[in-house]
């Protein structure tokens, strides 16, 4: 995992300034949070720092206008479109010197994104239970759906999404193939990505809602 030298996935710059790299950083962070939850017991400090980073990126993306609240009519399509937008960004980044993706495509892809918290509201964070009024079963279903849509892409797409990352991320593929589709999504958005725990690979196809609840309980620590 810790190879000699440094991988050049990110640019040499200290901070990914442009939206493509920012998105890439966001995706990387979310993957890290998922892996956190797969380990024996998540390192709380690391999880907090990554979650804060995710929040920071989200806030900046909101301010930029590259992340906006969806209307109710797009609720059903949200996760798929969000993933599609990520895939487009990653692909176009790798297509060579950055030819700007067709602005119309990008704009429409970026428009249909899941809701995030308005800055100032209490962010759910990775330990969030589902918000008040939502059933606890809400977010595992979303996560299932998210993973299902990832899975339903062509294998190439998924590979591309994760192709440059290091060893541990390949474990995530094993997890993803173990998940099965769920029902409709909720409007929870990005927090559900971070908040639901990924299951260890090889533990069966159907995501057991009860088991996920149990894992979430561990993380939240009543």
């Amino acid at each position: 995992m810790f190879a000699r030298g440094l991988k050049r996935k990110c640019s040499e710059e200290e901070a990914p300034a442009d939206p493509l790299q920012r998105q890439s950083l966001l995706d990387m962070s979310l993957v890290k949070l998922q892996l956190c939850h797969m380990l024996a017991e998540p390192n709380l400090c690391r999880s907090v720092l990554i979650a804060n980073t995710v929040r920071q990126i989200q806030e900046e993306m909101t301010q930029d206008g590259s992340w906006c609240l969806p209307g109710p009519q797009t609720a059903g399509r949200l996760p798929r479109d969000r993933l599609v937008s990520t895939e487009i960004l990653c692909r176009s980044a790798r297509a060579g010197p950055p030819q700007a993706p067709d602005p119309a495509d990008l704009a429409s892809a970026l428009q249909a994104v899941p809701a995030i918290q308005v800055p100032g509201a209490v962010p759910a964070g990775p330990w969030g239970r589902a918000g008040p009024g939502e059933s606890r079963g809400g977010f595992p279903r979303s996560l299932d759906q998210v993973f299902e849509t990832l899975e339903s892409h062509s294998p190439g797409a998924v590979e591309e999404l994760f192709s440059d990352v290091d060893g541990p991320y390949y474990d995530l593929d094993a997890v993803l193939t173990g998940m099965v589709g769920g029902a409709k999504s909720g409007p929870e958005g990005l927090e559900t990505f971070a908040s639901a725990a990924a299951r260890p690979p090889g533990t069966g196809c159907k995501a057991d809602l009860g088991e996920l609840d149990h894992v979430v309980e561990i993380l939240v620590e009543t």
Partner: protein, 432 residues
């Protein structure tokens, strides 16, 4: 600073996770990932072998912690020793605290070099003799035996931490100590294992609101009511236990204002403090974050009085270091006995020393290739750009799997212990 002279090293099956000299420097304890503690003892100087002064040899080895399984959470509890702290010596035995993520243990390490002999209650095979055949009273006599060092657990302080213990610190009253996890700090009395006082609790009522954790904590070396704790947001709080029982309200709050020109998505992560140490004098605290070591005056809360760059050439690599998780590495830092030099580790088995008076610094390497007994360590240099000179190493060639997280400095002499993964290096000053 004279260059180190003599080194000894030992091979450990496991990665060393903590290193600590005792208060006299006679003993050096290491803890490892396998839950073992190895104690080294300094050889007495002998008149015959003046040049062999002060080698450290293995004195005692014992298994401090075993892996456990938390059935309630279905999670394994690692046996890795996070910290060792010595108690000041009060009799012939040595006492130390060792902790893993959940349980603190007090160990007594004592020598036995005599054994009682001459019992007449048993025969040569050890069978009890018929009391009717015993006609004389014989008092056993202590006879010399080969030195045996035994470690016995005297106290086990368990079930007080929901989160992972990152620090333990012995109070200057020698009656109490504290243990800190990510969200809470508990105060213990050495004699009482079934209860502790919770003195800091930063767990929010709603865990969704959690944005900051405790990263390290330490008692003031002289004032038994004062302690500090550091956070993942780069802040230090000084607390006085004479104030209300729960020290959530700090007495002092140390934070450096952020430099807006350096702001990035990684600013918070690299500001997270991985270690905090009081100076021996008690007047200063030193903190280590990802790229720097800072010295703070207790009387000035708004900024540190000194900042030292450990490996600033990594600043342009933060994204990659985030990707490979190195950005979360927790480096420790130490003071020398007179508080004039500070030391901390880096990557590629490099470690750095900063002289606070002369403002000079040096980079040294702990590696077997470069260190033969009595060899003088050569200063190393990292080339940050442009033409690389012969002995320099370029940033992109650094080995990030070779990290020096744990170091220790003898309390009064220029002897340092450096843990490089599973090797321990001990360097001493050159004898003039």
């Amino acid at each position: 600073m004279n260059y180190p002279d003599e080194i000894t090293y030992g091979n450990k099956a496991d990665i060393i996770s903590t290193v600590e000299f005792n208060h006299t420097g006679e003993l050096l304890a290491t803890g490892d990932k396998g839950g073992r503690v190895v104690i080294f003892q300094r050889e007495q100087e002998s008149k015959n072998q003046v040049h062999r002064r002060g080698e450290y040899n293995v004195y005692s080895t014992f298994q401090s912690h075993e892996p456990e399984f938390d059935y309630l959470k279905s999670l394994e509890i690692e046996e890795k020793i996070n910290k060792i702290r010595w108690l000041p010596q009060q009799n012939a035995a040595y006492f130390l605290l060792s902790t893993n993520d959940k349980t603190v243990k007090l160990w007594k390490v004592s020598e036995r070099d005599k054994r009682p002999e001459g019992y007449n209650l048993k025969d040569e095979e050890g069978r009890l003799r018929d009391p009717a055949t015993i006609t004389t009273l014989r008092v056993p006599v202590l006879r010399p035996m080969d030195l045996m060092v035994e470690a016995t657990p005297r106290r086990v302080f368990a079930n007080a931490h929901t989160y992972h213990i990152n620090s333990i610190s012995v109070n200057s009253d020698y009656e109490t100590y504290m243990s800190a996890d990510d969200l809470r700090i508990n105060l213990w009395n050495f004699e009482i294992t079934n209860q502790s006082f919770n003195i800091v609790d930063i767990k929010p009522a709603n865990m969704e609101e959690l944005t900051e954790v405790i990263t390290a904590a330490e008692f003031h070396p002289h004032h038994c009511n004062t302690f500090v704790y550091s956070s993942s947001k780069g802040t230090i709080r000084l607390c006085d236990m004479r104030a209300p029982a729960l020290c959530d309200r700090h007495t002092k709050f140390f934070e450096e204002p952020e430099d807006p020109s350096n702001r990035s998505f990684f600013s918070e992560i690299i500001s997270s403090i991985s270690d905090v140490k009081f100076s021996h004098s008690g007047r200063y605290i030193m903190t280590r974050d990802y790229l720097t070591v800072k010295v703070w005056d207790l009387n000035m809360e708004n900024r540190p009085i000194e900042t030292y760059q450990v490996h600033d050439y990594l600043r342009s690599k933060l994204c990659s270091l985030y990707e490979n998780d190195c950005i979360f590495d927790k480096f420790e830092c130490v003071w020398n006995g007179s508080d004039s030099v500070i030391m901390t580790g880096s990557y590629n088995n490099f470690f750095r020393m900063f002289d606070r008076n002369t403002k000079r610094d040096v980079t040294l390497e702990a590696s077997r290739e470069n260190s033969k007994p009595r060899a003088i360590l050569k200063p190393r240099k990292v080339c940050v750009g442009g033409k690389r000179r012969k002995d320099e190493i370029s940033v992109d060639s650094l080995d990030f799997s070779k990290k020096i997280l744990h170091t220790a400095w003898h309390p009064s002499e220029n002897i340092i212990a450096v843990a490089a993964t599973n090797n321990l290096y001990i360097f001493q000053d050159k004898v003039n």
